[in-house]
Symmetry: C2
Subunit: 508 residues, 2 copies
């Protein structure tokens, strides 16, 4: 009874906000679904090696091209084209670690990447912010900060995803500093930095060094940030991404190599072709990272989706997307590299389309054995917008999946013979001893779902899920508590940011 | 080129309604997900046999009790309690066919049940109808007919689900005749009849005999309707359901035996216990069907969900529901009996909750190896309401799943090396020969999803998915064409209904 009471207390929210799950690691015990036969995986593997050998990649970043040449790749400096011998790729990707950990400011929120662990990261990169009250507007500093506060407050989210919306009201060349400072101050979860140019990576690492009180050597041994590097599909690596990749690898911080292979636009109109291209680009970038620093942590990123052939508009959460994510998981496992995918939708509103496209994404990526779901919460409009209501919708969907992944207990007590004997045919289990002993923790408790009957629901305003989500994020913001940070550390970070801004603006 | 043109023409809708998939069988090639170990499946099996042996079921229907007694069950007439020796159950369920077919009025729409086939049935049984324009109202004849017209018009739906909404404006004891006549006239798909009492089953079979021009013997060999029999959980079979079960088995028409095991209310608060009870009730009813008529076609029905422990309200599409459906599939496969489950939600509106609870249902039942998804389209409010917009939302989600289940082609042509050679780094695939040759059929084309960018979507009214669904069902109704029926057959059916109504109302 005392134990029951304790457990009951533990279920109460830590602060006064809405009831929700506690922060916790998620393990996926299901064997991943296979979409491709072993032979088909090999076909895609070999097709991608052939692409890299015969067509190659255009590498615009001089340093990367130089490193690849030194490692044995065939480089045509006039066209910046780099061709890779299959053996070079196969040999270099061998040093990739199968899993690694990520430090958070709160060590209780450190993350394991790979090894059966499943990480939910908030959306990163949108240009706009949106909520029901204020509509859609260009991303700004205030929205960015509020969104990071929500990422901190929603327990099912493990990681900040690399800036929820671009603070377009701040200077473009230094706003990464404002984001990093906000991410360190407003959340004690791990956060993702920007790969766009080497200096943005360097600033992240310097600021993490101050925030965590660790040397760069220590950070190299225990990475504390992660970033996404996209190739410019088809088959191109641009200068800022090349710089970011090299800087991250050198610093021992992980990079999710994620080709942006939209089938029918930047990739062949067939999903198999788009996957071959995705695989080629991912392997080339992964090989580059291992040439820069053997053993540098990386992820295999799958983002293959398709366009609407009538309009050219990108489509997300489609059947093609679902298949591509499951197939990408098989490819990542072939190389024993942790796998990153995304929770996506093309919807412009937080409506049924956003929910079912998200459901297609979450089920296919999770059943496909994903390790990191980027944009797991908040992504709208094909990634152009960070939505406050979508964050809550996704939080509910992530909680549902996390609860679904908890194993079903089958033992004498759970098989409940005595309870059925007590209740008998035609009876009711509400008052049974077996029920009372498990009353409080029996089932998943929702954040967003409303299970009241039609009359009660109507009487209290007949609010849709999206309208309820609006109330929930406001309640979360109201009950938000900033995680404490040593004032000396805070001051040192502020000084760093001030100094760097001066330097950056002086060189404009 | 001629072939391409033909294929393009085939993709055009047959009538002038919205673009959608054609009617077609769905095969699920995925090996089903396992939630339980083989030992755990056996534990549930043995727990359910123990329930039937030691607690037994209350069988209120005299004939069923008599048949069970004659077959060797232990019957206490005073309490109507029937206890089953485990060997009796194990022996009797052996005669269940592993698969069977269902005739439709249009033979092109005949259905295979079991054997890797996946059937989507429309919702059956709601008391209310709902749409955005007219709100929620008690089910009525006009709504019932319109809904059946939509079931006919939406190609991804394979089967009418047993009356979309109760026509409460017609007399209760004869309205099944009005439903049957409407089902025969308004759709040429297979439809489900009512199990509530033997005479309702008999009327269905007589009317099918007239409609199809087949004797009852022919119908027994080639069943043409299906029904759901629910036990009164816990562990009870009432008189109307007992009558319906016996009448269907005797006529060789299939029954999906579906215990209504809501964990925490009519079943133990633990999912394992609820599954043991579900399995016990299902096995008892299946054994009864085989005692009535060995080899009678049946399905194993899984419906285990849970209640909200704070309010007692039933919850659907929950993590517990998803786990129970996957486990139910494992149990059904243990007995080699086709498996029926459902697409459910507790939401009161066609909102994000309806979509994500539906997504949880569809993914878990399909990945769990279901053969018939009852309520696949249209169910709202825990089954109290047939929603016109939900029908369209579900149709889109079913199309997505059907497209997802089509295999990914990996061969030379699909791996698209030449296309990538043609386009090269930094190029675009829109104009490539490989793209042009596949332009028209490359990707899934949505019924409901809107993939336009924010500006175009806003300019055309910024309609949510639910609002678009409202326009789509109206457009479908407008373009609906009643499938032709021989006037002599129509007349004979009308005469049958008139005669039966007289008989029924004379005995009131």
């Amino acid at each position: 009874m005392a134990r029951e009471a304790t457990r009951r207390r533990e279920r109460r929210p830590t602060s006064s906000g809405p009831r929700q799950m506690r922060f916790g690691a998620v393990r996926n015990r299901y064997p991943p679904i296979a979409m491709l036969s072993a032979d088909e995986v090999e076909s895609i593997h070999h097709a991608s090696l052939r692409l890299l050998a015969e067509i190659g990649m255009e590498v615009m970043h001089d340093e990367s091209r130089g490193l690849l040449k030194a490692a044995g790749a065939e480089v045509d400096e006039a066209t910046q084209r780099v061709r890779f011998d299959p053996a070079l790729i196969e040999e270099r990707i061998r040093t990739v670690p199968a899993s690694f950990t990520l430090q958070a400011r709160d060590p209780a929120k450190n993350l394991t990447v790979g090894d059966g662990s499943l990480i939910f990261a908030a959306t990163g990169g949108p240009a706009f912010a949106h909520d029901l009250d204020r509509g859609r507007r260009p991303g700004n500093y205030q929205d960015m900060c509020d969104y990071i506060r929500l990422v901190q407050s929603v327990n099912v989210i493990h990681q900040e995803g690399g800036c929820p919306c671009e603070p377009t009201d701040l200077p473009a060349d230094s706003r990464h500093l404002d984001f990093y400072l906000a991410a360190i101050r407003l959340t004690d979860k791990n956060w993702q930095c920007w790969a766009l140019g080497g200096y943005r990576v360097e600033d992240a690492i310097e600021m993490l060094s101050i925030a965590l009180g660790q040397t760069r050597e220590q950070l190299r041994a225990n990475p504390a940030t992660l970033t996404i590097v996209n190739s410019n599909s088809p088959l191109k690596l641009d200068v800022p991404m090349g710089e970011g990749l090299c800087a991250m690898a050198r610093a021992g911080q992980p990079v999710a190599m994620t080709p942006f292979t939209l089938s029918g636009a930047m990739s062949p109109v067939t999903i198999a072709g788009a996957l071959a291209q995705q695989n080629a680009e991912a392997l080339a970038l992964i090989a580059l990272s291992q040439i820069v620093a053997p053993g540098a942590p990386v992820m295999y990123g799958g983002f293959t989706s398709n366009v609407d052939m009538r309009t050219g508009a990108p489509a997300f959460g489609t059947p093609e997307y679902a298949k591509a994510q499951i197939a990408s998981g098989q490819l990542a496992r072939r190389y024993n590299i942790p796998y990153r995918s995304s929770n996506v939708t093309a919807s412009n509103a937080v409506d049924v389309q956003a929910a079912y496209e998200g459901g297609m994404s979450l089920w296919s990526t999770i059943m496909g054995g994903v390790h990191l779901i980027e944009h797991a919460a908040g992504w709208l409009e094909g990634g152009l917008t960070a939505s406050f209501e979508k964050l809550i919708l996704d939080a509910e969907m992530l909680q549902l999946m996390r609860s679904f992944l908890e194993p079903l207990k089958v033992d004498e007590a759970n098989l409940a013979f005595e309870a059925m004997q007590e209740v008998g045919p035609g009876g009711h289990f509400f008052g049974a001893q077996h029920t009372l002993a498990r009353f409080d923790h029996a089932f998943y408790e929702p954040l967003l779902s409303d299970w009241r009957n039609f009359e009660n629901w109507s009487d209290s305003g007949a609010r849709t899920g999206t309208e309820r989500a609006n109330a929930i994020w406001k309640e979360l913001l109201k009950s938000y508590e900033q995680p404490p940070l040593d004032p000396a550390v805070d001051e040192a970070l502020e000084a760093y940011v001030a100094r760097r801004k001066e330097e950056i603006h002086a060189t404009r």
